[in-house]
Amino acid sequence: MIAILSIGFVVVLSSVLGALSMRYSRTTSDFLVASRSISPRLNAAAICGEYLSAGTFLGLASLVMVFGVDMLWYPIGYTAGYVALLVLVAAPLRRFGSYTIPEFAEGRLESPRLRRLSAVFVLVIGFLYLLPQMKGAGITLRALTGAPYWVGVALVAVVVAGNVAVGGMRGVTFVQAVQYFIKVFALAVSAIVLWVATSRIGAPPAFVDGAPIVAAQSSVRVRSPSVLRLSLPTTIIADGVVDGRLVKGSLALSAGVHGVEEGTRLTLSKGTPVPQAASPEGRGAITNKRWYLPFQSSAQRDHPLYLSISLILGTVLGTMGLPHILVRFYTNPDGRAARRTIVAVIALLGAYYVWPIVLGVLGRRWAPDLLVSGGTDAIVVLLPKRILSGLGAELLTGLLAAGAFAAFLSTSSGLLVSVSGAISHDLSQNGGVRRFRQATLGAALIAGLLGLGAERFEINVLVGWAFAIAASSFCPLLLLGVWWRDFTSVGASAGLLVGGGAASLAVLTTMFGPRFDGWVGALLAQPAAWSVPLAFSAAIVGSLLTSTRRPVGVHSHLARMHTPE
């Protein structure tokens, strides 16, 4: 009940703040970049509010819970991305003075066609990044109220579309600064309270032979046909189909792999080992030792070291290519302020990421039964009731639900502004405020529909893919555009098409294609390590081959970018 009230509170607060700011949103410039009147501190909080999405609020804790220490590379990469952004492109981009990546592409390389091509990648990255936000909303609402998955998706799509269409960016800047604080507060308070509670009442019984064991009797319904792996023999109560046989009642399972059909209900008794969801060709359940040591959690794919390196590369270089983040520095008054904003952002991010990690660790201790269904993405909001009872649990759940919705709403708003801006100002001519609003509604509808199909993907994995594509498309465009005199629009297009195209194909294959193992699977699942160099090579070769087509005003562009105010 409290949870529903607090979700309602966040939704209403966002809408009211958005509507209030409508009075100030008079011109298109107000809509897109808040007329550049935002102070660095407010802007840093807003950037964090926008950046910290469902991926880090829900997804990170879930990944840590399932896969362990290897997943800590996600927050490190997300933060290091800002360092790369800061030292390589931040001040020059702000000094250049364009509003969005497509506009930078057109201004710097003097090619309207390149602007449209960049806008296409804004859409690809924007929609891919919107999916996990929608999924987060769907599963959170379901976990808290039992509502069907689509209700949460629809709620977020409608609220965000309304906010953005009414207030534009000016509205969401204030809203997002507030939302950063809601998120940090919710996670930090919960993590501290639950950690202290755990040490007071004592953790659930220790793990047996490295396998997680059930903390309290619990019952799980398997949502899709799955393979479970047991490291120790056990007895469970099943109702449904296990290993191809209809079972109702007690069932002894040997150590090893067991197939379970959709709709089967499994009841696990206290103190027994937890069967963990594994891929059909799974390389075994993640025992606790493999969970807390680096480069071990290869239950899903081969070559964990490659996966970690590629993940870091994608997140570090992808941050600068995220369309909804870059537009934010244009709200700083000058290049120096943009830099100082980013330093503040890095501090705020560090203060945030500790908490989801703590919650993920607690989740593995208290709710290992969720490992059975693989449905761990909602662990953050489920955890308080696993550890506490009564009003305390209700209040914490409410707080976390509010934080989670703040995350979905803020990131989705920022993405929607960028996606709508790309549609109304880059892909079509003379888009005014009305065109922007139409684009917003259309984009929100598409994002909602795509979100309905996103349930089977892990939240943070989707986010990681959006980063990988951004790193393979916009990172070369921005880096070479800022620093290289001989960069041409042909080279830029080649980089976008080859690098961004290859990364997108790899991601699509992993999402919808057949399953590959070994090196092929690893290369497709984390493409950044090869697609970023590929993009740079294409951009450089393309530029060298067309050296006669260097932009006429290249010197003046470079001078503008590198001259201090």
């Binding site: 011109t27 298109t28 410039s29 897109l32 007329s35 220490v69 800590l72 590379w73 490190i76 933060t79 290091a80 800002y82 360092v83 790369a84 800061l86 030292v87 390589l88 001040a91 020059p92 000094r95 250049f96 003075g97 364009s98 509003y99 506009e103 930078f104 201004g107 710097r108 003097e110 807390y292 040591l293 680096p294 070291l305 870091i312 570090v316 008054p333 120096r336 830099r339 100082r340 980013i342 330093v343 890095i346 501090a347 991010l349 560090g350 500790v354 990690i357 003379n430 005014g432 005003g553 010197h555 003046s556 562009h557 470079l558 001078a559 503008r560 590198h562 001259t563 201090p564 105010e565």
Partner: protein, 150 residues
């Protein structure tokens, strides 16, 4: 009265204003290093610009190198330990494995430190450029170019 003959009011702050055309009215430098607002046509301006860009790029690459170096040290260090001395990774500090402290907590102050030190350096660099004599900059750059030829 112009409205009557069919002229529409237009918003002045329209984002279709090409980046290229948007003037830098907010520049407040008192020093004559405002290459940004003039066309860089002559050799002199190009020279000053090259010198400035070179300094900025060197600093950017240095800081990025520090970032990459720090990250690779951690990744490769952990990978080596996993191969050679896996038992050291199980070392616990306050009952939490040391790896978790390193990756979950200590990396963030380190990243902050890299960012902070870059900003301090680049602001110093830009102040120096603004106070330096244009002629001096040109002479320096010419000298460097000459050395590069030799």
């Amino acid at each position: 009265m112009t409205d009557r003959v069919g002229r529409k009011r237009v918003t002045v702050t329209h984002p279709m204003t090409r980046a290229v055309q948007s003037g830098r009215s907010d520049r407040t430098s008192s020093v004559d290093l405002r290459v940004g607002v003039v066309e860089v046509e002559n050799e002199d301006d190009a020279l000053v610009l090259r010198s400035l860009m070179q300094a900025q790029l060197t600093l950017a690459l240095q800081s990025f190198g520090v970032l990459v170096g720090a990250l690779s040290c951690v990744v490769l260090g952990l990978a080596l330990l996993t191969r050679l001395r896996p038992s050291t990774l199980e070392t616990k500090v306050f009952s939490v494995p040391a790896v978790w402290w390193l990756l979950g907590l200590l990396m963030f102050p380190m990243l902050y430190f890299i960012a902070q030190s870059y900003v301090a350096q680049v602001e110093r660099l830009e102040r120096r450029f603004q106070s330096l004599n244009r002629d001096q900059l040109k002479r320096d750059q010419l000298e460097r170019d000459q050395k590069a030829k030799l």
